[in-house]
Structures are given as structure tokens and as C-alpha cells.
């Protein structure tokens, strides 16, 4: 080193000085770049710190009918707002850093969807336990059993998770059930970005759309369920078709010529041009690969058809909408996929259909009844719960309004997002076809959410050439702050009943130890963590919350009618919450019923812990009891439509 120092200046001092200057400049740049990155990450780190520090303060046991928001420390929404603000500020930069934005989005998903997993003792939702139980049954027996449960008629998801747990070597699918909302929402990002990039090459709008989607996905179907996985497949099918098979010029000259010959041709041709604007050219692939992709899409859809009862029809409706205005090349695809979906339903779900076809047919076309069941029917239960439901509606309506504004803003600039509008409109007729247990509007929201999110993002980020101003960015942050509060209230508004405690899970374990196979297991409603094992060994039944308003003697008579060798009533804290939220059964009424049960000569308290009580029907009073059954119990009585039993309220 010393040699070079002594020799080089002597030969060329100017060169050395220049080199030294360059070195110093690079060092400064490096130093400042690192600093810059560190500075940019400060809000993210701070947000995560706020969130982590808030977690121990969340006591889910103290939740009211307002749900998680009633116990949520302010740090959590603050953390979300901080992340959103950091991201929104970054979207103002001329050069975007995609890893930086991706990191923020991942953190956002973790906070929005992982908080409950971390603060609650057990996986949420009673339906999660049923799904685990179905997977467990398939793993154990290698078979499906449609006679036990309607969900076996669409077994794709359960077979997949059962195989997955065996391949990984897990004891139960419960091990990955708890984190389902987080990893599913991460999974959704890839197909969502495909969909968004089909209408805009501007990464700002794509990122904003992704953020908005995650902030408004309050419906909560992303738990360990067939619909959670199938939603990903729905997005993938739509994303791939929009990416590779969209028609750059949907207007047909033949149709235009035909219209031109009609009366009022100028209006007709004008209207036709308006609804068939050009779109971005599709991504290019060799024709053989495109053909292979079509085959893959059909195979994936076939899996969707045998995994979930609703997703195939939303997929077909979406594609029909796109084909109607020639937005995609695959004109036969909706018919082909429709045939696959209908064939599965009409051939493979006969046990379910035979019990429900009359109801399904009678509901078909009953728009008023369907809307009533989906909107006004939901406005029931305790006052706090009704407030949460109102908030749900307001939240959804606001997003629809934002999407409409975004659509108009881009329309004014000559960007006609007809495909997105079609994808929003096309599933609406399904509401007239089915009430789906009063849940179809929720599903409608879910299946139109991606397209609404990207249009809503267009309000601010719809002009690619223009960077959003400071004022607009501040407005985005303010709106996102409001959305965040709304998100926690709407998504986790029923958390009091959706959360399962360790005491409840342990209580159910005790139930399986106490009750011999063939017993009748009864609960007022289905909101308890049972059926995750021994699916076929018991008769499970959930008559209604009205039994809580009757006497134990009435209940004993009802249980004796079932003629099982033993009968048990299970009461848990989650059931109490559901009875209160949805049926208006007060806490005092619940306690009174429990007291009556304790005193009743027809029942014996077989087990009790903090959140669970198990009452056994006394054999002495059970004159109608049959001898102990040796065959697995028939669960025909508990065959409920997945619509009613499978989805969270």
C-alpha cells in the first residue's frame, strides 16, 4: 500500500486525485443510500414495534358485542395507518422500489389478518374445526362420506389438505389452520396483480389496488375453508384469462355494420363503440403454450367444481360477462366451465340435492326474498351487533361508491375499464337465483372486491403520467385510516363468538372421552369447536337457540326422541355469544337456563370448566333409550346446507 502511495502520485498526481474523489463520492453515496433505506424503513419498523407492543394488551375475554375493536389498543390501527402512510408517500416517488412496497404490504397483511391468530388461544371459527374433522376423517379412512355431511359432496379441499398434512408429516390439519388468513391473503396477491395489470401498466395503481383490496377484505372467507382456497383459484383463472386471452379490439365490424343499417344508427353505433373500447394487447405466449394454458385452466376449474359449491358459478358468471362484450377470446370457455360445474352438482351431489332441491328451486328467482334474507334479515340480534351489521353495509356501499368514482375519473381520461365493470356486474344476477342462507350478498361483495379495489384506486392513482400531489396523498392516508377502523369493526365484529378458547377446546376433548360412540351430542347452535375428530362416531345436532328459552324437561323429551344410548348437551361461551348476538338471548337468560339444567333431575353435569359445561341426560328418565348402538351413528339429522353451516356469520 505504501509503495503504491509513494509511486502513483509521482507518476500522475491528477489521476490519483480524481480516483480519490471518486472513492469518497462512492463511499458517501453508499453511506447515504444505506441511510436512505434505513430511513425509509423506520415507519415500517415503528409500526411493527407498535403492533407487537399492543399484542399483550389485547384481552379477548373482555370483548363486547362490538367485537375485537372493543379491546383493541389504539396502537394497532395506528400501526396500520403508519404503514399505509409510508407506502402512500413512497408511491409519490418517481422511481418505485418494489421490494420496499412488497415488504410494507406483507407487514400490512400480518397485522390485519394475523393479529387474532396471535392473541387468541385457538384457531377461530367453529367451521374451521369441522373442516379439520372432515380432513381427519379422509386421512383416517381414505374415503369421503356424503351421507354424514353435505360438505363431503365437494371434497376437493379436504382431500388436498389431508394429503398435504400427510406429506408434511403433521398430526392434524389444525396445525396450519390458524394462519390460513395470512397465507391465503399473501397468495391472493399474485393473481390480483395479474388482474390489475390487465387494465393498467402503471405500477402505482396496481400497488394501490393491492393495498385497498387487503384493507377492505372484511368478509372473512379467507379462513381454513374450501372457499378460502377456491377464491385464490377464482382469481387465478380470471387473472390468467385477462392476461393472455383478452381481445385488444373487442368491437366487431360486422356488428357495427349491422347496427349502422338500423334506425337510429348513429346512437346505436355510438353506444356500441362506448361499450367496446380497445384494451391493452394481451401478454404474448407461443400458441402451443396458450393451448396448454387453456387445458390447465379447465383442469383447475374442474378442481374448483369439486371443491366448492359457489365459486364455480361466480367464475362462470364473470367469464360470461367478459364474453358478452367480447373482452376475451375464449368464447366457448364459460359454457365449457358451466357444463363442468353443473355436471358435478347434478351427478356427484345427489345426496345433498335430494334433500334440498325443492328449497333451491323454490328460492330461484325470488329476488325480494333473497335480498330480504341477505340484507334486512341480517339486521337482527343485540344492538351492538346490529350496529356492526350496519357498519358492514356502510363499508361495502362506500367501496362501491369509490369504485364508481374511480371508474368515472378514468373514463374522463379516456381509459375505459369496461372489463372491470363487467366483472363487478356479472355476478349480481346470482342474488336473484339464490339467497344462500342470507349470505349471497357477502359473497357478492367478496367476488367483486378485486375489481372494485382497482377502480377505487383509480380515484387517485388512475393517471399514469401524473404523480399524486401531497394533498392527494394526505387524503389517501386519511381515507385509509378510516378504512382501517372500519376494517377492524366489520371483519372482527363477531369476534366474541368466532374466537375459540383453550377451555372450550379442552371441554370438547373431555366430551369425546366421556361420551361413548353412538351418543347424541346436542348444542343450541353450532358455534363450538367440535367435530374436529370422530366425525362419524356421534350424532351431532344443533336444534336452535330457542331450546334455551324452554325447560330442561322439554329438552330431555327432545333428546329422548333421538333414541341414542346416551345423550349430552354441550354449552360453551362461544355458543352463549352467538345466542346473544343473533337470537337476542340475554346473558341472564343463559345463566338461568344453566341453573335450571343443574337442578333438573333429567340431567347430570358431567363436566365443567371455565367456558364449557357438559350435561348428560339421565338414563333413569330415559325410557325410550335403545340399547347401545354398535354401528356408527347416522347423522342424517344434522345434514345442513354448507351455506348455513359452513360459513362464518
Amino acid at each position: 500500500m505504501s509503495v503504491s502511495v509513494s509511486v502513483t502520485p509521482a507518476r500522475d498526481p491528477a489521476w490519483r486525485r480524481a480516483l480519490a474523489r471518486w472513492r469518497r463520492a462512492i463511499a458517501r453515496w453508499r453511506h447515504s443510500a444505506l441511510l436512505l433505506v434505513a430511513a425509509r424503513l423506520v415507519p415500517l419498523v415503528a409500526a411493527l414495534g407498535l403492533w407487537v407492543s399492543a399484542l399483550p394488551q389485547i384481552d379477548v375475554a373482555r370483548m363486547t358485542d362490538m367485537g375485537l375493536t372493543s379491546v383493541l389498543p389504539l396502537q394497532v390501527p395506528l400501526a396500520v395507518v403508519l404503514i399505509v402512510a409510508s407506502g402512500a408517500w413512497h408511491l409519490r416517488q418517481r422511481k418505485l422500489s418494489h421490494p420496499f412496497l412488497a415488504l410494507h404490504l406483507a407487514a400490512l397483511i400480518l397485522i390485519l389478518y394475523g393479529t387474532t391468530t396471535l392473541v387468541e388461544q385457538q384457531p377461530r371459527f367453529a367451521a374451521t374445526y369441522i373442516h379439520v374433522g372432515i380432513s381427519e376423517y379422509i386421512s383416517r379412512t381414505g374415503m369421503v362420506a356424503p351421507q354424514l355431511e353435505a360438505r363431503f359432496d365437494w371434497p376437493g379441499f379436504f382431500i388436498l389438505t389431508s394429503m398435504l398434512s400427510q406429506v408434511i408429516g403433521l398430526k392434524s390439519t389444525m396445525d396450519f389452520a390458524g394462519w390460513a388468513p395470512v397465507y391465503l391473503n399473501l397468495l391472493y396477491l399474485a393473481p390480483l396483480s395479474l388482474i390489475f395489470r390487465s387494465i393498467t401498466p402503471d405500477p402505482r395503481m396496481v400497488w394501490a389496488g393491492l393495498w385497498l383490496f387487503e384493507l377492505t377484505n372484511w368478509v372473512g372467507q379467507d379462513y381454513f375453508s374450501p372457499q378460502g382456497l377456491n377464491y385464490f383459484l377464482f382469481l387465478s383463472i380470471i387473472g390468467l384469462i385477462l392476461t393472455y386471452f383478452r381481445t385488444p379490439k373487442p368491437a366487431s365490424s360486422r356488428v357495427r355494420d349491422w347496427l349502422a343499417r338500423r334506425r337510429g344508427s348513429s346512437v346505436l353505433v355510438g353506444a356500441y363503440s362506448l361499450i367496446t373500447p380497445e384494451q391493452l394487447p394481451p401478454a404474448e405466449l407461443p400458441s402451443k403454450r396458450l393451448a396448454g394454458l387453456v387445458v390447465v385452466l379447465v383442469v383447475v376449474f374442474s378442481y374448483v367444481s369439486f371443491s366448492h359449491q359457489l365459486t364455480p358459478f361466480f367464475t362462470v358468471a364473470a367469464l360470461l360477462g367478459l364474453v358478452a362484450l367480447n373482452r376475451i377470446r375464449l368464447r366457448m370457455m364459460p359454457i365449457l366451465l358451466g357444463v363442468i360445474a353443473v355436471v358435478w352438482v347434478s351427478y356427484m351431489t345427489v345426496p345433498f340435492l335430494s334433500g334440498h332441491v325443492a328449497q333451491l328451486v323454490s328460492e330461484f328467482g325470488q329476488l325480494t326474498g333473497s335480498v330480504g334474507a341477505n340484507v334486512t334479515g341480517r339486521l337482527a340480534g343485540s344492538p351492538d351487533h346490529r350496529f356492526v351489521v350496519m357498519l358492514d353495509m356502510l363499508f361495502s356501499a362506500s367501496l362501491w361508491a369509490m369504485a364508481a368514482i374511480g371508474f368515472l375519473v378514468r373514463w374522463r381520461d379516456g381509459r375505459r375499464d369496461v372489463s372491470m365493470a363487467l366483472l363487478i356486474a356479472s355476478p349480481v344476477p346470482l342474488v336473484a337465483a339464490q339467497a344462500y342462507g342470507g349470505e349471497l350478498v357477502l359473497r357478492l361483495y367478496l367476488f367483486t372486491l378485486p375489481f372494485m379495489a382497482i377502480l377505487a384506486a383509480g380515484v387517485v392513482y388512475g393517471r399514469p403520467a401524473q404523480l399524486p400531489s401531497r394533498l392527494r396523498t394526505c387524503a389517501v392516508i386519511a381515507v385509509c385510516a378510516a378504512i382501517t377502523m372500519g376494517f377492524f369493526s366489520t371483519r372482527y365484529g363477531n369476534e366474541r363468538m368466532d374466537a375459540m378458547t383453550t377451555s372450550e377446546v379442552e371441554g370438547i376433548q373431555q366430551l369425546y372421552e366421556i361420551a361413548p360412540p353412538g351418543s347424541l351430542l346436542m348444542a343450541p347452535n353450532g358455534d363450538l369447536p367440535w367435530r374436529s375428530q370422530a366425525f362419524e362416531l356421534y350424532d351431532y345436532t344443533t336444534p336452535s337457540d330457542e331450546i334455551l328459552l324452554g325447560t330442561p324437561a322439554d329438552l330431555a323429551a327432545l333428546m329422548k326422541k333421538a333414541s341414542n344410548p346416551r345423550a349430552y348437551l354441550v354449552l360453551t361461551a362461544s355458543e352463549e355469544a352467538e345466542a346473544e348476538l343473533f337470537s337476542g338471548v340475554s346473558s341472564a337468560q343463559w345463566d338461568e337456563f344453566v341453573d335450571q339444567m343443574r337442578k333438573s333431575p333429567d340431567f347430570r353435569l358431567a363436566f365443567e370448566n371455565a367456558d364449557t359445561k357438559i350435561f348428560e341426560l339421565q338414563a333413569a328418565g330415559a325410557g325410550a333409550y335403545a340399547p347401545a348402538a354398535t354401528e356408527p351413528a347416522s347423522l342424517a339429522s344434522d345434514r345442513t346446507a354448507p351455506a348455513a353451516a359452513g360459513a362464518p356469520a
Binding site: A291, V294, V298, R329, M333, V339, V343, Y347, L353
Partner: protein, 82 residues
């Protein structure tokens, strides 16, 4: 009397229930329908949209099979309702 309704067809229709017929020949016809529709979708892609003859030829089978499919599904549904 005709090629469509021969004595053998009549006796098969009266011997078997519609459930049996639709789960055997009905399903075979629907599988063929799916196959032909897939072909109809693939042909224009492989030939870069220049395949009017192929599409017309396949339509000869697609539309009749679609009608049969509709009849099969409606009949099965009616069977369940009855």
C-alpha cells in the same frame, strides 16, 4: 319406426330407469361434449384464429350435445323433485 327410436332403443328406455341411463350413456355424452368444446376452444388458439372450417365442423356436434346436456340435467333435477 325410425333410426332414432328403434325397437332396441324402446326396450332399453323402458327397461332402465332414467337415473341409470343418465349415469351411463348420459355421462358419456357429456364427457364427449366437454371434449369437443375443449377442442373448439383450442383449435383457433393453435391456428392463430384462422380455423373457421374446424369450428364449423365441431359445431355440428357441440350444439346437439349441449341440448342433450340440458335435457339430461333438467330430467335429473325433475327426478329428484318427484
Amino acid at each position: 319406426m325410425t333410426t332414432t327410436v328403434t325397437g332396441l332403443v324402446s326396450s332399453s328406455l323402458t327397461q332402465h330407469s332414467y337415473d341409470f341411463l343418465s349415469t351411463h350413456i348420459g355421462l358419456a355424452v357429456i364427457i364427449l361434449l366437454a371434449f369437443v368444446m375443449l377442442l373448439r376452444e383450442l383449435v383457433p388458439i393453435v391456428r392463430n384464429g384462422d380455423a373457421p372450417l374446424q369450428v364449423r365442423g365441431l359445431d355440428v356436434a357441440v350444439l346437439p350435445l349441449l341440448i342433450v346436456f340440458a335435457i339430461v340435467v333438467l330430467a335429473r333435477l325433475a327426478d329428484l323433485l318427484v
